[in-house]
C-alpha cells in the first residue's frame, strides 16, 4: 500500500512538473492540477495509511482526523486557485490571441506542438 501510494505520488509529481514546464497555458493548468493531487495524497499519508477506527468511536488505534481536515482545506483552496488560473488563461487567450506563455515573439517558438492541445482553438498570430 505504502509503495503504491509512493509510486502514485511520484508519477503525479513527475507529470505535473513536466506539464508545468510546457509553453502553453492549458498544459500548465493541467500540471498545477496534477501537482495538487500529488500534494493532497502526501497530506493524507501524513496521517498514516494503515487501518484505523474512526476517532469518535473510542477504543484503541484511533485514526488521526487532522490530516483529513487539512486535505479538505487544501482541496478547497486548490479548486479556487485552479478556477482562477483557468479564467486567467482564457482571458489571456482572448487578449493575446495565443495561449503561449512567456515573453518573446510568439511565432519564433517551435511549431512542433502546434495545437497539440486538441481543442482546435490555437489561434496563431498576434
Amino acid at each position: 500500500m505504502a509503495m503504491l501510494l509512493a509510486l502514485m505520488i511520484g508519477a503525479l509529481v513527475a507529470g505535473g512538473v513536466w506539464l508545468l514546464l510546457r509553453p502553453r497555458s492549458w498544459s500548465v493548468v493541467l500540471g498545477v492540477t496534477l501537482l495538487g493531487y500529488a500534494v493532497n495524497l502526501i497530506i493524507l499519508s501524513a496521517g498514516r495509511i494503515d487501518r484505523r477506527v474512526p476517532p469518535i468511536s473510542g477504543g484503541e488505534n484511533l485514526a488521526d482526523p487532522l490530516p483529513q481536515a487539512l486535505v479538505l482545506t487544501a482541496i478547497v483552496i486548490g479548486l479556487g486557485m485552479t478556477a482562477f488560473l483557468v479564467a486567467l488563461a482564457l482571458r489571456g487567450l482572448a487578449a493575446l490571441g495565443s495561449d503561449r506563455l512567456g515573453e518573446g515573439p510568439v511565432d519564433t517558438l517551435s511549431a512542433d506542438d502546434e495545437d497539440d492541445d486538441g481543442d482546435g482553438e490555437g489561434t496563431k498570430g498576434a
Binding site: 508545468l20 498545477v32 500534494v39 497530506i43 487539512l70 483552496i77 482562477f84 488560473l85 486567467l88 506563455l101
Partner: protein, 509 residues
C-alpha cells in the same frame, strides 16, 4: 484584541460586497484603514510591555487549536501593514480603484491576509493566510488600464503559476512536519525539534528546507528572482506599493522559523548557513545590475525591492540579536521608501501622458514643483545617503550581520548596490524632471489614476516616512533591539503559547 487587525479588514471586505457604490466603498476602506492603524498602535504599546499576547481562536488550547501571537516583532509588522496600507489606499482613490468593481474588497482581503500571516502561530494557518493574500494579489494585479492588459496577463500568469507551485511545496512541507512531529504549531515544533528521533531526522530536515524555500520564493531570492520585477513593474502603482510588503512576509516568516522554530536544534544544523548568505549577495548583485537595465521608474522600484530583500535575507542567515534588530529597522524604512517610489512612479506616469514613467525626456512640465522634492527625499533615502534612515539601516546591518568569512563580500555587495542605486536615481532625475520644459510639447491632460487630493497625501505620507524615521531613529532602534531580544529569548514565546508546564504528550506511533 489581538484578532482585531485581521477581523477589521475582513469585515470591511464583506461590507463592501454589500455596498457596490464606489464612494461608499472608499469610505468603508478609509474607516477600516484608520481603525486598523489605531488598533495597531495600541497593540504595539501593549506588546512593548514585554508580554507576549496569545489569542486562542475558538478558545481551543494550543497546540490543538490555532493561536494568534503578538510579540514586539508581530506588532511592528502589523503597524507597518497599516502604515503602508493607508497611503496605498489613498493612491488607489485617485482613480485606479474604479477599474474593477471589487477592487476595494480585494484590497481589504490582501490586508487581512497580510496581518494574519504576521500574527499566526500555526503553520497551516499561515498557509491559509498566504493563500488569502495571494488570491487577493492575483486579482489586484489584473486591475489597471486596459491598454497594457496583454503584458499584464503574461506577467500575471507566470506570477500565479509560480506561487501555486510555491503553495504546493509549502503543503508538502506541512504534511511532512505533521507526519513526523505531529504538530503544526510553531511553538510546539520548536519544543519537539530537539527530540526528533534519528529515523525521522531526514524527513524533518527535508520539510524544513522546503518551508525555507517557499519563504525564499516569496522574498524572490536568487535563483527565484526574475518573476518579481516583471510582475511588480506592471501592477497599478497603488497595488505595487502594497505588494512591496509581500516580499517582507517571506523574510519575517523565515526569521521566525529560524529563530523561534529551529533555535539550535541539532536536526536543523547547517540547513541554511552555508548557502543563504551567498544567495542573498547574488540577489543584491543581480538586482543592482537590473537597476541599470531599467527603462521605467516602476522597474527601478521593483529592482530596489529585490535589493532590499537580498539585504534582509543576508541578515536572516546570521540571525544574531544584533543582526535581527538591524534587519527590523532596515525592513521598515525600505518597505515604506520602495512603496513611495512606486507611488511616485504612478504620479509621474499619469502626468506625462503617453510617455508614462519611462526614463525619457518629457514634453511639457507636469507639476514637478511638488513632485521634485518628494523625488529628492525618496531617492536620497533609497540610495542610503546620510542622514536619511536608509543610511542608518544599512550601517546597522553592515555592523550587525555577517562574520569574518562573509565580511568582505557583504560590505562590497551593500556598498556597490548603494552606488548603483545612487547613479541610476541621479541619472533619472534629468530626463524625469529637469529636462521637462526643454521641448514644449503638449503632454495632454492628466490621465485618470491620480486625480484629486488623496493620491498626493498618499505620496507625501510615504515620503515623510524618511524624515520621521530619522527623527524617531533613537526610539525606533531601541524598540527593534528589544524586539530582537524578545525574539531570541525563545522560551518566552514557547511558554506564552503552550503554557509554562510543558507536558510531554504521547508520541505518535
Amino acid at each position: 484584541m489581538p484578532i482585531l487587525p485581521v477581523l477589521l479588514p475582513f469585515t470591511a471586505a464583506l461590507v463592501m460586497l454589500l455596498v457596490p457604490r464606489l464612494a461608499a466603498q472608499r469610505g468603508v476602506a478609509l474607516a477600516s484603514g484608520l481603525a486598523g492603524l489605531a488598533v495597531a498602535v495600541l497593540l504595539l504599546i501593549e506588546a512593548d510591555t514585554g508580554t507576549t499576547l496569545v489569542y486562542h481562536l475558538g478558545n481551543w488550547p494550543a497546540p490543538y487549536g490555532i493561536v494568534l501571537v503578538i510579540d514586539r516583532l508581530a506588532a511592528l509588522m502589523v503597524l507597518l501593514v497599516s502604515l503602508l496600507g493607508l497611503p496605498s489606499l489613498l493612491m488607489a482613490m485617485g482613480g485606479s480603484d474604479a477599474s474593477g468593481r471589487h477592487f476595494h474588497a480585494l484590497f481589504q482581503l490582501l490586508l487581512a491576509g497580510l496581518t494574519g500571516a504576521f500574527l499566526t502561530g500555526d503553520m497551516f494557518n499561515l498557509f491559509v493566510f498566504f493563500e488569502i493574500l495571494l488570491l487577493a494579489s492575483y486579482a489586484l494585479l489584473m486591475h489597471g488600464p486596459s491598454a497594457a492588459e496583454a503584458e499584464r496577463l503574461r506577467a500575471g500568469t507566470i506570477y500565479v503559476v509560480l506561487n501555486l507551485f510555491g503553495s504546493s511545496l509549502f503543503l508538502v512541507a506541512l504534511a511532512l512536519v505533521y507526519g513526523t512531529l505531529g504538530t503544526l504549531n510553531l511553538a510546539d515544533i520548536a519544543r519537539l525539534l530537539p527530540m526528533v528521533q534519528a529515523g525521522d531526522a531526514a524527513l524533518v530536515r527535508t520539510a524544513m528546507v522546503l518551508m525555507a524555500a517557499v519563504f525564499l520564493l516569496k522574498a524572490a531570492i536568487m535563483p527565484m528572482t526574475l518573476w518579481l520585477p516583471a510582475t511588480y513593474a506592471r501592477a497599478p502603482a497603488a497595488v505595487a506599493a502594497l505588494f512591496v510588503i509581500l516580499t517582507k512576509v517571506g523574510v519575517v516568516m523565515l526569521l521566525r522559523l529560524v529563530v523561534t522554530g529551529w533555535g539550535d536544534a541539532a536536526v536543523t544544523e547547517g540547513l541554511l548557513m552555508p548557502w543563504l548568505p551567498g544567495l542573498a549577495i547574488a540577489t543584491i548583485l543581480v538586482a543592482a545590475i537590473g537597476v541599470f537595465s531599467s527603462r521605467r521608474l516602476a522597474e527601478v522600484a521593483a529592482w530596489l525591492v529585490l535589493i532590499s530583500s537580498g539585504t534582509l535575507m543576508f541578515a536572516v542567515g546570521f540571525a544574531t540579536p544584533r543582526a535581527t534588530a538591524a534587519l527590523m529597522y532596515y525592513l521598515v524604512q525600505s518597505t515604506l521608501l520602495c512603496a513611495g517610489l512606486f507611488v511616485l512612479a504612478g504620479h509621474v506616469a499619469a502626468r506625462r501622458g503617453p510617455l508614462g514613467d519611462r526614463l525619457d525626456k518629457a514634453g511639457a512640465a507636469f507639476g514637478r514643483e511638488w513632485l521634485l522634492p518628494a523625488w529628492g527625499l525618496l531617492a536620497a533615502g533609497l540610495a542610503g545617503l546620510p542622514p536619511l534612515p536608509g543610511f542608518i539601516g544599512k550601517l546597522m546591518l553592515l555592523q550587525g550581520a555577517g562574520d569574518e568569512r562573509w565580511q568582505g563580500a557583504w560590505w562590497a555587495a551593500v556598498l556597490l548596490s548603494s552606488l548603483a542605486v545612487l547613479v541610476v536615481l541621479a541619472r533619472a532625475t534629468g530626463p524625469l524632471f529637469w529636462q521637462a520644459r526643454t521641448v514644449p510639447v503638449d503632454a495632454g491632460p492628466v490621465l485618470a489614476g491620480v486625480g484629486g487630493l488623496a493620491p498626493r497625501v498618499g505620496l507625501w505620507w510615504l515620503v515623510a516616512a524618511g524624515p520621521v524615521l530619522v527623527i524617531l531613529a533613537g526610539p525606533m532602534a531601541d524598540y527593534t533591539a528589544r524586539a530582537a531580544a524578545q525574539l531570541h529569548a525563545r522560551t518566552s514565546y514557547i511558554e506564552a503559547v503552550l503554557g509554562p508546564v510543558l507536558v510531554q504528550r504521547e508520541r505518535r506511533p
